[in-house]
Symmetry: C2
Subunit: 224 residues, 2 copies
DNA sequence: ATAATAGTGTCTATTAGACAATATCCT
DNA sequence: AGGATATTGTCTAATAGACACTATTAT
């Protein structure tokens, strides 16, 4: 109930869409809601404290609930529909965070199943080990927006490299792009476009351990 | 102060960047803050009520403070730095709204002066009748983001048409684009690109009243 | 030698931009 | 008729995509 001198305020939360690519599949880190509460899987999140900047809330949720630092994060959008959390009015500021899969060891990574392909305003499903996971709140729709943002920014921004280790082969970059776009790409044009962008430079070193011809390792060009 | 069973909550507001183009200048609707309060000019805004969806807050602010309905509005971003409102912690969800200048009669429209040209993260200045207006809060930086969003979406989305009346000439479209991009465009390539997009259709009617040859009127193609 | 992948060369289709020429309408 | 703008035509540069080919390495 509102006090005398102020209106009741909504709660404000940050929710994190922590994305990675594993074996050619776009994946998101989800947490299982405790029983008796909201059922289903949800993006990790937390309330924004009164003395805490939004990015600090993001960092706190990362260290409290995830235990890792993403390479890149950016604000996606804010969701404030009335019934989105049935317990109370919560406005969620959603951040998109990107990590290479290596640094997310042991976390609950759910494969993101895009089931709209071409339509607009799409939702998304999630599965883990082949089983469908129920998504809590409006997180299926939010993840649809996440995928749209990723696809939109993929080839004119360096976000794809945030999903890769410091040094990577061109094939690995292509696998990331194919996973996000959900379609295969031709190798030669992809290589050119990438190299013509001028965002990456060859290191002169080569991958090891693989069968057959090793590919050169590249890294993101440091801004001079 | 927080009550026993909950933390203190930030306030949540919506702020509106209501943009238009007048005589080739990108303009924004601002309100003058009352004296004794925050000094300077600010975007119109209001607090989000506990039982009100974000878009409903936007509509309420529009009817209370502006008295007009924009052709198009979309969420831009959410700003929550700690000191942005010196009176209390306020998190602002900023919406970008677009209107043709004809429907904003008599409002306080300030010309947006872009003073960064090419750099990243830019702020913006405002002037009215040639005099510089002081911008309150972090609204100079927010308006920088507004301009960036406008420029980025201009030529692959129909937002430019939201600044025009229902029927318009190709020259008028070009003037809108030049105002937003801040640079002149060549007429023939601009015409083709626009027509090849397939988003507008000729009406067969022509403008009247102007000196010299009248141009054909176009309108946005209705989706079938 | 062979298999499998890395990397290159060439061609074509599409698109964006520059520039010149023509068409049309008002005064 | 003349002036200003609308509209069209042609050319060029840059880009994206398809496809064939060569190069390199582990087995």
């Amino acid at each position: 109930m509102p006090t005398l001198d102020e209106y009741a305020k909504p709660s404000v939360a940050v929710d994190l869409a922590i994305m990675t690519v594993i074996d050619g599949d776009l994946c998101v880190l989800l947490v299982n809601r405790p029983e008796g509460d909201i059922v289903g899987w949800a993006m990790p999140g937390g309330f924004v404290h009164i003395d805490e900047a939004l990015e600090d809330s993001v960092q706190r949720v990362l260290s409290e609930k995830v235990g890792t630092k993403p390479i890149h994060f950016e604000q996606l959008a804010t969701y404030g529909a009335l019934g989105r959390d049935p317990r109370s009015r919560v406005i969620s500021i959603v951040y998109l965070a990107l990590c290479p899969s290596e640094v997310l060891g042991g976390a609950n990574l759910a494969k993101v199943i895009i089931d709209w392909e071409g339509e607009v305003g799409g939702r998304v499903a999630a599965q883990m080990n082949g089983a469908r996971l129920p998504l809590a709140f409006d997180h299926a729709a939010i993840l649809g927006d996440v995928v749209k943002r990723l696809r939109g920014k993929l080839d004119y921004s360096p976000i794809g490299f945030a999903l890769l280790p410091k040094r990577f082969t061109l094939r690995e970059v292509q696998e990331i792009h194919e996973a996000i776009l959900g379609k295969p790409l031709k190798k030669p044009p992809f290589r050119r476009k990438l190299l013509d962008r001028g965002m990456i430079v060859p290191t002169g070193e080569f991958e090891t351990g693989g069968a057959y011809r090793p590919a050169e390792l590249y890294e993101v060009k440091s801004k001079e």
